[in-house]
């Protein structure tokens, strides 16, 4: 009988708490675009990497600005974590290794109480997460349409990521939070022409406008030892739209380049639960849905006029599909004393492919497959060593992409279907094909990630 009542209490609180958050998440899913980050692909900090990002119902420090801002509300005090992350790629496309450019960076995660009095006492917390590359703010790399590559990993981790967040603890068992994934997009004209000086003069006017994607979350602890979480991350892409006009020896040239969603992260909804059966063990299970089907793709959109000839690129449609993922992690404090605690983290997950492999590709050679993720790490916690405590941690993760194979189809008669390949000769369209994915597109491989960090609690 007690179990039934307990279950009813849990369900009642959960339903009551999740209604507004679910409605908000649904609305935000359809909100306009708000880039991809290394956190989305591999995890935030050593513990995030080791747990394969199964953190939505556990994180309550600065990393919760990404995993679940609602969890930030459940923390206490001030935590500052600095970490470094490195990636090594064994991804192979057509027999060639595909590197991850700029494979190292540093993260900062800060979570802190806001010291207020009165009705807001012990209720408000703020958090800040940032990831930066060592030498540059970002790299934007859009490949030629025929290059074989993995769009899930390609040019998704090479940018500054900044997420400030605020969270409110509505009651001792529930917290809500919201953050903003902030970057900027660019639009404007570039014109090269003969000016008053009778020489070439450039008129260049670029507006860099803020783009932001919401990160929102709810965290509920209906009973001690149980945490439930709902988190939403709005899709994020960096828009660039630039029209270049020039006059080359009297011949007009106009190029409209649109990279609508570079450095893309899809909208993500995460549902998670964590249990702590003892003070030494914590287990978490996350399920997530990522709306990849809304992506316009990783290619430049070009609309150009050269002399009197107008040409436009045509990105393939319908190649991307939503993905589902399940992630689980366990944290075990295997040694505890007054001066030190040692723990280990293990995680595993699976995510479906964001590429619809049943859809045949023409000129393009995108590669992706279902992914298996395995992570492991260790944490050493030293109470009172610096501030309230110092934690040192290391996490590693291996992501394995299953092998994919697709046979290309050759055009037999003009006009050719978009999902076929064509050679240079109109009369013999099936001959002389130079596409690198012909006759068969193959890819597989994995990525190894290592993260080390230090956290101080004040």
């Amino acid at each position: 009988m007690q179990h039934v009542l307990w279950l009813r209490t849990v369900v009642h609180r959960l339903v009551r708490a999740s209604r507004p958050a679910a409605a908000a998440a649904l609305l935000l899913t359809y909100a306009p675009t708000s880039g991809a980050s290394v956190w989305e692909v591999f995890g935030f900090g050593p513990e995030g990497v080791a747990s394969v990002s199964a953190q939505a119902a556990t994180a309550n420090d600065g990393t919760s600005v990404f995993y679940n801002p609602g969890g930030l509300a459940m923390g206490r005090g001030t935590q500052i974590e600095l970490s470094g992350t490195g990636m090594l790629s064994w991804l192979e496309a057509q027999g060639a290794t595909q590197p991850i450019h700029d494979p190292a960076g540093g993260s900062l995660a800060v979570g802190s109480d806001v010291p207020l009095e009165g009705p807001l006492a012990n209720r408000l917390r703020v958090g800040f997460g940032a990831y930066a590359l060592p030498s540059k703010l970002m790299r934007l790399q859009m490949r030629p349409g025929t290059d074989p590559f993995f769009p899930y990993y390609d040019n998704r981790t090479q940018r500054l990521t900044v997420i400030p967040a605020v969270a409110v603890r509505l009651a001792s068992w529930i917290g809500v939070g919201v953050g903003a994934n902030v970057l900027a997009g660019v639009s404007g004209p570039v014109d090269v022409r003969e000016g008053q000086s009778r020489g070439l003069e450039t008129l260049l006017q670029q507006d860099v406008r803020t783009v932001a994607g919401w990160v929102a979350g709810l965290r509920v602890a209906p009973v001690p030892g149980l945490d439930l979480a709902l988190a939403f991350r709005q899709r994020f892409g960096v828009p660039f739209h630039v029209i270049t006009t020039a006059n080359v020896a009297g011949v007009p040239l106009r190029v409209d380049v649109d990279t609508a969603e570079a450095l893309y992260d899809p909208a993500v909804v995460v549902v998670a639960g964590a249990v702590q059966p003892s003070d030494r063990v914590r287990l978490e299970l996350d399920g997530s849905w990522s709306r990849w089907s809304a992506w316009r793709g990783p290619l430049l959109s070009i609309d150009t006029t050269v002399s009197a000839l107008s040409l436009a690129s045509h990105s393939p449609e319908g190649l991307f599909r939503d993905t589902w993922a399940v992630r689980g992690a366990g944290h075990w404090w295997f040694a505890k004393s007054a001066n030190a605690q040692l723990g280990t983290i293990a995680g595993a997950g699976y995510e479906t492919s964001m590429l619809d492999t049943s859809a045949r590709q023409g000129r393009t050679n995108f590669i992706d497959g279902p992914k298996l993720m395995v992570g492991a790490g260790t944490v050493a916690h030293f109470p009172g060593l610096i501030g309230r405590a110092l934690s040192l941690s290391v996490g590693a993760q291996w992501q394995r992409v299953a092998a994919t194979v697709q046979d290309k189809q050759v055009c037999t008669s003009v006009p050719c279907a978009p999902d076929t390949l064509v050679g240079p000769d109109t009369d013999r369209p099936g001959e002389g094909i130079s596409n690198p994915g012909y006759p068969t597109l193959r890819g597989h491989g994995g990525v190894f990630v290592l993260s080390v960090g230090a956290r101080v609690e004040l």
Partner: protein, 421 residues
Amino acid sequence: MLAGFAAMLAGTRTSRATAPLLFGYGPQSTALAQSDIESPDPAASAYTNPASACEPGTRLLAGHAYAWTDLTIDDRAMPLRGIAGTDLAFQLGRRIGRRWQLGGAVAAHLPDESLAQISFRPGSEPSFVRFEPSPQRAVADAVLAARYAALSAGAGVSVLADARGDVGFLLGQDGNGTYADGATNVELPYRLAPLVGVGVDLGPVGIAGRFRGAQAVGLDLATRADVSVTGNPLNGTTLVTVAGQSGYVPATWDIGARWNPSRELRLTGALQLARWSRAPSNTAEVTMAVRLGLSPGQIEARFVRPSLRDTVSPRCGVTWTARLADRPVDLRVGYAYSPSPVPEQTGLTSWADAPAHIIGVGTGVELGQAWGIALRADLAAQLWMLRERTFDKPSEVLPFAHYRAGGRLFDLSAAMEAAWR
């Protein structure tokens, strides 16, 4: 396109002078015409003087400033954007022992319309080099500071980014007809400008110094067009490279002093040296590498450096603290003279600028405690009056051989500050 990337966090446009450089950061500095180098609002210390970032306490400032522009060339109003933006600043300082203080601060200015406007205008067109869109650029400063007894020092960086890379597009033809394809590879490497501040606090008297490094967004971007379409005159390869420094802000050296003749009265003064003479050309260099069946007449364009002049700007301010309804109220007034860095125009360029008198007024009120936070509100206004200036080039055949420049700017700034002491 490429220039655009440059701006991500920083960016700029043709020239010069960010909004805080023109008007000051926050209402206090605005009202005192930036004479408060020795005694800045600690919340704004990351910008105004890094040495003050160690002031004990925790402070958060949120404000907004809007400047109306009424600048004219030949009595015609120049269509400039209003200079508007939000100020967000945070400062944290702690006393360590009896004589030491340590602290840090961050300050950001975020323009309303865009984080940045990057532009290169045609070099021969008239433009207000100090007031055009560079004030639309975001500013992001972070500093650390320490104080021992009466001596304090702080240092940090102002963060910007350059842009370099290439965009390529291919217009081709295969058995199915024509097609277009493209690729980019653009990087935004960091560019950091140093910030340094020092101060000596002798009680009723204090002196301070500040250095802010020069800033600009370097662009080096190439666009490559490969055209291979039957019968097109541009068949072949065209490589257009645009390179330049956009949004240059000069290095500035400031010295300032403070004197408190009484508990209610504070006098401040400062001198600012702005190294405009180091400014690079504010027009883009263009080069074309062409391998076509025809030859363009122009394949390269370079403009000379602008040879701007260094300026020394004197500033002074008065702050009177009164009591109104038992609350302390600061009343502030300030004056500054801002010489023009633009020399006489004798060539193709037609830059416009004039010396300006700057008057600022403002007030600040302690609002008391709410939820354990000490709240404060500040308001300020600043007026720039540019003396009308006539430019006469030596030759009538030069573009814009004669023109007059002048006008006014009016800036309003308001901010709320929360402090935990």
